[in-house]
């Protein structure tokens, strides 16, 4: 395998809940105590994105998939771990040094209603990034580039003088994609780009993203909770649970032979047309709070195969015969 385009190593992100020093001190049982709490959004994620692929990250709400996306893009700084792009560490770059990577990495956001500046016309929205990253370009050059991206996402050139609020959600998402493409990125992080759209529009936008991938040789890190989209779009899939990757496999392999008990439960929940007697795997209880993480495997409290070792020891990602990487003691021991 060639070296990956983006690699995420041992990434952790905690959000502090306890505030400043004064707010941390509590009086309990006759003694002053300092109490520190944090949400453990990501707890040691290792992922590698290969050039040209679409790596999908799936998981339920609050499992940390959006936090991974934001940390990769530098919107959040990691509490621990490293992010490398093309072999170069980028999570500690600041200001001017990070600019080349800003151009190569772009992001598409979830909510098209908030991701366009309401006081800027479409023309201005697309023009600003181009002029910012290519200060030496002439006006006709900038105009040609704008026309090229507008054309490639299928938006009318006449829309340039209008404002974002004059468009529908799907149109806005196209404009947001055009803005990301305007700086000729290599790598795009898409944070649930279609979940806020109408079902009829979702396919259009998805196809647009796939066309762009083909014609521009893009690499995607695609965050979603929609398994149908994953099957259609993803080269590989990473399943996350409570801030950890529990299974990572090729899309076909994962849907055909899910190994991790959580993935199995997740896939069994997909409704099927011919299913008159559904056979969902029912998980007991709820997702534990990310403030107090369970010891050992984060899934052990709800896993039907959990044993003593699962409660004690954090499972590492191991590669199985099928090429699937899975973090589960039961799979490793051959119990499952």
């Amino acid at each position: 395998m060639t070296s990956p385009l983006v690699s995420i190593r041992g990434l952790e992100k905690r959000f502090d809940l306890s505030g400043n020093l004064l707010e941390q001190i509590t009086f309990k049982g006759g003694r002053l105590r300092r109490k520190q709490e944090a949400v453990h959004a990501i707890n040691g994620v290792d992922l590698e994105v290969q050039k040209g692929e679409a790596l999908c990250v799936v998981g339920e709400s609050g499992c940390g998939k959006s936090t991974v996306a934001r940390t990769v893009m530098g919107l959040l700084s990691p509490s621990a771990g490293e992010i490398h792009y093309g072999g170069q560490r980028i999570d500690n770059l600041e200001g001017k040094a990070s600019l080349p990577y800003r151009r190569k990495m772009q992001m598409i956001f979830q909510n098209p209603y908030a991701s366009l500046n309401p006081r800027m016309t479409i023309q201005q929205t697309l023009e600003e990034p181009i002029r910012f990253h290519h200060p030496d370009w002439s006006t006709p050059q900038v105009r040609d580039k704008i026309h090229e991206v507008m054309h490639s996402v299928g938006i009318d050139l006449d829309w340039g003088s209008r404002f974002g609020h004059e468009f529908s959600g799907g149109q806005r998402q196209r404009i947001a994609i055009a803005r990301a493409l305007a700086v000729d990125p290599e790598f795009i992080v898409a944070d649930e780009p279609i979940s806020a759209l109408d079902v009829s529009i979702q396919a259009q936008v998805l196809n647009l993203l796939m066309d762009a991938q083909e014609s521009r040789g893009l690499t995607y890190l695609f965050i979603t909770h929609d398994l149908a989209v994953v099957e259609h779009f993803g080269t590989r899939v990473a399943v996350m649970y409570l801030g950890r990757v529990c299974e990572l496999a090729d899309t076909k392999t994962l849907f055909a032979t899910p190994r991790h008990p959580y993935t199995q439960a997740l896939l069994s929940a997909i409704p099927k047309l011919e299913d008159d007697r559904p056979n969902h795997i029912r998980l007991n209880g709820e997702v534990p709070t990310p403030v107090n993480l369970p010891s050992g495997c984060v899934f052990h409290g709800r896993c039907p195969y959990a044993n003593e070792r699962c409660r004690r020891e954090v499972p590492a990602l191991i590669t199985t015969d099928g090429g699937t990487q899975v973090a589960c003691h039961a799979v490793e021991e051959g119990r499952l």
């Binding site: 800003r102 992001m107 910012f132």
Partner: protein, 310 residues
């Protein structure tokens, strides 16, 4: 290019602001009265029958003449004269000019300081936010007038009366501007906190734009509507503050009277029958502040989307 090219004027005429303005009689009347007063103040040198700053035109023999329609009135002085023999109409026109200049100037200074500090506190957060907002709290805990009186008194004592008269207008703009900036800073900070979480700001950060560009080109335009509302009300407040200071003798000198110092200069004669020297400038001041406040109220209702449907 048919429907796509709409001029700014067309856009404004189709906007909710214009629609609600057309239907609001109070707003229309207030706006017209304010426009009239602002124009009268701007063109005071052309409109006024006399120049109250020119000592050669003042005759002490004309002092305390009543307005036209009362016994002893002179048609040359339609609103009468003050205790120094100045034509009251001209003095009021010039005084309105001074009051409006101080009002707008002080609010301009407040807006510059308030927007700058509010944006910094809201967007940068953390220690910058804590320090700037504590300064604002300290400043707000003193009353504007108290600060202004102390500063004004110190300046007056150190520059002497003559020098103070020359710089008084800038002094008042400075004092009132400095004393009231936290009002605007807090409003700006609150709307920046709401705006900076939106995805278009994150999109700008992902593009690699610098902090300053994001603050001024992306966030500031989206926080302007509350600034407009606050600024309108603050103009009225600044004019009132100036009048109060002048009434206490710490504002504009009698040689270049504002509305406040005119009221004060007539106040000594109100018991001796020359009520017009105080009453007429007082009425002008009340009307001026009232129309600005009414416009501010209307603007607040328009800019608040929650009140759209009434």
């Amino acid at each position: 290019m048919t429907t796509a090219t709409v001029s700014r004027w067309d856009r404004f005429r189709e906007s909710f602001v214009w629609y609600s303005f057309k239907r609001d009689k109070v707003a229309i009347i207030s706006f017209l009265v304010l426009l009239l007063m602002v124009l009268a103040a701007i063109f005071a040198p052309l409109l006024a029958p006399a120049n109250p700053y020119d000592l050669a035109q003042i005759n002490i023999m004309n002092s305390e003449m009543p307005p036209v329609g009362l016994d002893g009135a002179d048609p040359a002085f339609p609103l009468g004269t003050d205790a120094q023999g100045r034509d009251l109409l001209s003095t009021i026109l010039y005084g309105t000019r001074v009051s409006l200049m101080i009002g707008f100037g002080a609010v301009l200074l407040q807006a510059v300081l308030g927007i700058l500090f509010g944006l910094m506190a809201g967007y940068l957060g953390g220690k910058v936010d804590a320090i700037l907002m504590r300064i604002a709290d300290v400043q707000l805990s003193f009353s504007t007038l108290m600060v202004a009186i102390i500063v004004g008194a110190v300046f007056k004592a150190s520059f002497g009366n003559l020098m103070f008269g020359e710089i008084a207008i800038y002094m008042l703009i400075f004092i009132i501007g400095i004393a009231e900036w936290p009002q605007i800073a807090r409003t700006v900070r609150a709307s920046v906190l709401a705006e900076k979480k939106k995805e278009y700001v994150e999109a700008a950060r992902v593009m690699g734009f610098g902090t300053r560009r994001i603050m001024f080109r992306h966030i500031l335009p989206n926080t302007l509507s509350p600034i407009f509302v606050i600024a309108t009300v603050q103009i009225a407040n600044a004019i009132i503050s100036e009048a109060a200071l002048s009434f206490l003798g710490l504002g504009m000198p009698e040689t270049q009277p504002s509305l406040g110092s005119l009221i004060k200069s007539g106040f000594d004669y109100i018991q001796s029958g020359s009520w017009w020297i105080t009453l007429i400038p007082g009425l002008v001041l009340v009307v001026l502040v009232l129309v600005i406040n009414l416009l501010g109220d209307w603007l607040r209702d328009v800019m608040n989307p929650r009140l759209y449907k009434g």
